[in-house]
Symmetry: C2
Subunit: 351 residues, 2 copies
Amino acid sequence: MPLDQRKKQILQAIVDDYVSTAEPVASNALIQRHDFRVSSATVRNEMSDLEQMGYLEQPHTSSGRVPSDKGYREYVDSLMKVDTLTDAEGEEIRRRLSESFDELAGLLKKASSTLSEQTGYVSLAITPRLRKSYLKQLKMMMIEPGKVLVVVVLSAGIVKDRLVRIPDYLTPEQLSRISSAIEVGLYGKPLEEISLVTVASAAKDSQLPDSLLNQVLYEAYTAIKQADNLEVYMDGTNRMLSLPEFSNVSKARTLFDALAMDGIVSGYVNELSMENEKASYMIRIGQEISIGGLSDCSFITTTYNVGDKIAGNIGVIGPKRMEYSKVISQISFIRQVINHQLEEIKALNGG
Amino acid sequence: MPLDQRKKQILQAIVDDYVSTAEPVASNALIQRHDFRVSSATVRNEMSDLEQMGYLEQPHTSSGRVPSDKGYREYVDSLMKVDTLTDAEGEEIRRRLSESFDELAGLLKKASSTLSEQTGYVSLAITPRLRKSYLKQLKMMMIEPGKVLVVVVLSAGIVKDRLVRIPDYLTPEQLSRISSAIEVGLYGKPLEEISLVTVASAAKDSQLPDSLLNQVLYEAYTAIKQADNLEVYMDGTNRMLSLPEFSNVSKARTLFDALAMDGIVSGYVNELSMENEKASYMIRIGQEISIGGLSDCSFITTTYNVGDKIAGNIGVIGPKRMEYSKVISQISFIRQVINHQLEEIKALNGG
DNA sequence: TTTAGCACTCGATGATTGCGAGTGCTAAAC
DNA sequence: GTTTAGCACTCGCAATCATCGAGTGCTAAA
């Protein structure tokens, strides 16, 4: 049995009300706040149907109804009204993100904090997946004998570096021969195709004895590989402590522990975005989220882009009772601004 | 009126008991757990005195007593028994900290997480104050026209870098003339004495026209200055959610907000360590801590050293009802291990 | 100075009650 | 057939009350 028009209206109204009040929604309250042209008794019948169909839940007999995961799903898929930012809100976001303008990490941090402040929920910004980007430069700069700063420059203008230790009899000249051999050999090769073996074979061209090479190769390799590490900027976790959902500390602790598990959330969001490459945003609700401790939450995530290959994610984690349409409009807007800024950074970098 | 022997004993016992139970301590419970050779009535009289003198508080008539800030202060200053780590505990700590061995940031992160796990409270590790250390090297590496990686090497082997943008008509040669002029001019000068003016006058020696110089100076200056930024690694905040002290979320939120205020806690700890240079550890209890939101907590901090000039801090934040002596022994031990590791890093660096 | 004894305090617990918000059902109205 | 007024019923919640007992403070005797 599909939902008829009136059921949809009622479900929508219930979700809207529950989102703003956090209290189970009663038939009477509904007809007062929205002007359905029917009585509370009719609404009650409809609500009872909706419960049977799995869209609503009743915390206990004689209480109002609360949306189930399925109810929220229906709501976000086809019921909610899309929200649009006011000009002022948009301007504010643009202003804040234009401050930190020439550095990826700074931009993402700012994006994350803005997103959290605007929505009032937990925000997330994840650095791009760089597997598809390629090595443009590899420099090894000797700080002092035995200590080298390896600088990796990737396409899309991303620069990462790493301080490593090598045998201290290597001279700067030998080092620079090695690094330029690797650079030449790997130029244009996507990170995902770079392995210890490819690095080694590239380094062969330096014409240095293996005994010298081997000591450096591994460090060069890990420096390159680490450029692909995802970094996560999470913001606003404390806000969750003010939500009635988490008014009991043990629930809060479960949530916080889950959020603090480094890599779990970002890995999940990452997967999500790979599975939904063409979607403009992704929503996961409650039990749909396969991370222990987050089943009382919803995710809204989206993907930002540098060119057509490089992509990272931003997202919001909030209670299931989230202001979905507002968050969607905010996150979409921020995504646009990030894309724009990144294009600009790229243009500045010549490429 | 000074505390006589028995009062001290009783106060000590009360703190010990309260630390482990988190419940107000009653006279009867006291004489059962500890064998004072007196009756509960006597203890009651003593407790009443101790309350009068400000060492104890009574949540309400007819409940047991709880230590006041003054009570804890007396306890840590002269009553508690010092705890020593078991060999196994020490070994475990040493093992964990020896894993990440050649990089300051990694060592401090590991130290922080170890400290939190061992104590069960919130831990803190702060990078060293580098004002007294001096510039050893300044390199500017052109990534591509207009984009430069500024690498700052300080005495004590600390390396920091920063990606900056400069006018794109500057050539690598000009850049390297500027950076080596600055390097030569500032070599050996402590960071605290470096200003935009000193940088500019050092750069003069590059013999390049001011019009070129000015564009780069500021970036060089900020790169150098930023090397002095304190970074903070905090761990285990979630553990606080399991303490009865913070079983109500609004208290927890206040605490978490305070902890998240970037720089507040680290600044406080920093100040503390400057004021108590020769102390082997510092304790601040409740109201003694002048940070809003942390007045239900205690701090135990200590200072680690690289040589005799460079020093940073590690610390523990817990409830006032903290296991002081245990934490002190743990933090002291970890401090020693850090010092040792840092000496080793320095030796490796030939510094 | 210590302590046994006892009255007193007060939070915590649990039972009881009433209230009221909310439902589901029925039967009448549309 | 659908809607709705009416009403009985459910159940959480808050208030009230009594009880219990852990704990104190005080007094008077040891």
